[in-house]
């Protein structure tokens, strides 16, 4: 049986960033993930924003880790080759009443230590963002806000962790803890048992279920909150800015933002659901998203939408550790040294922004709990940068194609993803073995044709590179086959 110093449950952005931080030390670390790839839960479907930090209530963990995480993102993105842009973001007030509420956010931001916040008048807002609703009352501008590739936010640190010795077990679901007396000594999974001194619970939507198995915080509950989105064809409708409405108590509201590739996104709405797997879009939800976004920008034409998706937030009910603050949806990050369990739960927005700081905090907690942390001499903080044909100059493209002709064959016509990039990802340290795994790594199939052109070609490449029949190739693992049988003609030769 494998024995580790630390097991991390969950390979979303939180688990991946934690694994990477742990890989700096002389520790044996395993990450288990129930899905067929890294980044398939909450991290795969969100707004992809590195929040500035003016939104969380001052004094909460969310506020502290958001602001700290935001500062860490430049370094993390640089070392791990994660597409990240510090675009700045706006909170747009529609009407005078909302404008007054901006003051509150502005003061919160100052208390939280967010630098450079500015309140813009109506005229200044409209001159910077001329496409806005004419009734806008003004805006806050936060220069430290940014956008990130949400998939690479988890994939890149996980790959770096693997390069630095972390073991990743995919399609491995937690079943229960193994106890020796009152101490957790390992976990049972569908893939066998793993022994470990520490277990870190970064299981996102399932983090409550897991901690309850150890009889910790029986009152803690994750309530999935669904958010739905539209993505637009950048050639038809592109708003290059990150625009929030004035938030409510429960949500930052339906916003308009852009991906790192320039596709406008609108969403999310926010509705509690019972099922932790219910990432389905609904007619009503999509309508609500459209109406909400139209409040900021009236000229949204759904004809130019190219994709819809829905994600689930892992909303917890943890009280802020500081007893003077009455806030009940904070991150829950705490170590139980006697038990050997560390929970990282209720990581909803601003979880992506906070992730590097959460990982840092986890290491501090482990250290305070007595885990010996000796830095590895040969830790390599750099992930091998990817060649992205789309982002290259023509000279660079010419050179690349000369070196390896596979980079000359464009497989995704909308996003210009080449065969060379796909093959590299299939054979990368965390191999991309499904269509969606390639999609998350390269953004193939995310453009205006939504994979209609590339799908047959990618099935062929996956089949060739993995040495399996095209009938074995899946969209996202577990039974999601593209093809069900050969045609009669082929079958009968």
């Amino acid at each position: 049986m494998e024995k580790f110093d630390v097991i991390v449950i969950g390979a979303g952005v939180t688990g991946a960033m934690i694994a990477r931080e742990l890989s700096r030390f002389e520790l044996s670390v395993a990450v288990i993930e129930k899905e067929s790839d890294v980044c398939m839960g909450t991290t795969s479907a969100n707004t992809a924003i590195v929040h500035a930090g003016y939104d969380p209530v001052p004094g909460t963990l969310k506020a502290e880790l958001n602001v700290r995480g935001n500062k860490l993102w430049d370094q993390v993105a640089f070392e791990l080759d994660i597409p990240f842009k510090r675009t700045g973001d706006y909170v747009v007030a529609v009407g005078d009443d909302e404008f007054k509420k901006l003051e509150v956010l502005f003061e919160r931001g100052k208390k939280n230590g967010v630098l450079g916040l500015e309140i813009l008048s109506k005229d200044k807002t409209l001159s910077k963002l001329p496409y806005l609703n004419r009734d806008v009352g003004g805006a806050i501008f936060a220069p430290t806000g940014g956008i990130v590739d949400p998939f690479q936010a988890a994939l890149a640190p996980m790959e770096n962790a693997v390069i630095n010795g972390v073991h990743l077990y995919l399609e491995t679901s937690f079943i229960d803890f193994i106890f020796e007396g009152n101490k957790i000594i390992g976990i049972k999974t569908n893939n066998g048992e793993f022994l470990s001194n520490w277990v870190i619970n970064a299981a996102g939507l399932y983090s409550d279920v897991i901690m309850h198995k150890a009889n910790i915080h029986p009152e803690f509950k994750i309530t999935p909150r669904k958010g739905e989105y539209y993505i637009f064809d950048r050639n038809e409708f592109a708003i290059p800015d990150v625009l929030f409405p004035v938030p409510t108590e429960f949500s930052k509201g339906i916003m308009i933002t852009t991906t790192v590739h320039g596709n406008t996104i609108i969403g999310p709405n926010s509705h509690e659901v019972d099922d932790k797997e219910d990432t389905s879009n609904t007619r009503e939800g999509l309508e609500e998203v459209y109406k909400g976004a139209s409040k900021l920008v009236p000229e949204i034409n759904l004809r130019h939408a190219i994709a819809i998706f829905a994600g689930l937030r892992a909303t917890g009910n943890a009280r802020t550790p500081n007893p003077n603050i009455d806030y009940h949806h904070d991150f829950l990050i705490e170590a139980h040294p006697q038990l050997g369990l560390l929970n990282v739960a209720g990581i909803e927005s601003p979880g992506l922004a906070s992730a590097p700081a959460i990982a840092e905090r986890v290491v501090e907690l482990l250290k305070d709990s007595g885990l010996e942390l000796k830095e590895k001499k040969d830790f390599n903080p750099i992930r091998k940068p990817r060649k992205r044909f789309r982002d290259m100059s023509n000279e660079e493209r010419a050179q690349l194609v000369k070196e390896n002709p596979l980079y000359g064959r464009v497989i995704c016509r909308c996003e210009y993803v080449t065969e060379g990039e796909i093959v590299e990802e299939i054979h990368s340290p965390i191999p991309a073995k499904t269509y969606d795994a390639i999609k998350r790594r390269t953004w193939l199939g995310t453009g205006r044709c939504q994979g209609a052109f590339d799908t047959p070609r990618v099935v062929e490449i996956l089949s060739r590179e993995l040495g399996v029949s095209p009938l074995e190739v899946t969209k996202k693992g577990s039974g999601s086959y593209f093809l069900l049988r050969k045609t009669k003609e082929v079958e009968n030769g």
Binding site: E277, A307, K402, G408, Q450, L483, T487
Partner: protein, 423 residues
Amino acid sequence: MDKYDVVVIGAGPGGLAAAISAKKEGAESVLIIERDKEPGGILNQCIHNGFGVEIFKEDLPGPSYAERFVTEAESLGIEFMLDSMVLEVTPQKKIYTTSKWYGFKEIEATAIVLAMGARERTRAQIRIPGFRPAGVYTAGSAQRFVNIEGFMPGKRFVILGSGDIGMIMARRLTLEGAKVERVLEIMPFLTGLTRNYVQCLQDFNIPLQLSHTVNRILGKNRVEAIESVQVDENFNPIKGTEEIIPADTLLLSVGLIPENELSRKVGVKMDTLIQGPFVDEEMQTSIPGIFAAGNVVHIFDLVDWVTEAGFTAGKGAARFVKETKEKSDLVKLVPGNNIHHIVPQYLKKDALQNGPIKLMMRVIKPMEEKVWVELSDGKNLITRKLERYVRPGEMVILTVPQKAYDDVKKAKELIVSIEKFGG
């Protein structure tokens, strides 16, 4: 850099016709760039009949229809660059392409024909709620899997949209032993050709439900069922009419959109109603010398009409090339063997009418022997002069005598080279 009179982007029926007519109408060098491995475009996967009734008065399958044009293009000496993607077209008519076989290339054209065809509308454009499992395909991708790759994407189908590709696929899949449960059409009328309805649906007892759409996709990993719903006159679902249809695959045949990414990038004016470029009667776009043919302009019903539009565009391109050549009164001076550069770079065609002209140049490397400095039109020598040596530090001068007037006038380009005296 490679140069062509006419470059056609796309080797589907529109592009093939345009290339053929451009060549026949006098364009000397014609290149077709195609992103697929074979020319013919979408016709290659349309193995059913129904092509050529107007043009050939014959009822051909798609690949045979394409083959006739490919054969003709090849016999006319039209060049093909296959498995190659055009990344950009500039208003100066430079074309950037990339390919596994030819590398990254810059190509210059006098005239360009845009013939990129169309793409299929996606699920988001019709906003179908539910999960995003495997088993949702555009009718065209499914057709490629079945007819080109030899694989069935499903066993039990629901088809959304009564477009032609969807109906044709309904028949094809049934013949392959699959069950097509239903064709749903949101409009209160058929959107494809009546003949396809009769031959593909009626003859195979496949039900068509008008004023119906997909309400929801069920199944998280692979499609498990499709929920259909009836819609009112404003296309809103009517509550209580939902029906769950067990199926493992949903095909979308909900229309085509002209594929105009390159057209937009180069800046031709676009008709936002049909999402194609504005064209005149020659199929010329708002940029002189850039033409458009086929579904890139608007969605055609029959391929025969695409071919016809291609002929028109190709003829226009040839006319443009001819006029450009006539208008051009400059001949380029091209540095040949061991010549670094020449000044002037161009001569007017009638430059010698007022007397001889001095060409000034530098050589690339020294040659310490007797050499000829030769001016030719690429084939015939026009004039030459003997030098005892040439050195990069010393300018070489060649005077073109007045008697070369006719040679210069008819030359397409003028080349100066240094050649060994004895050679």
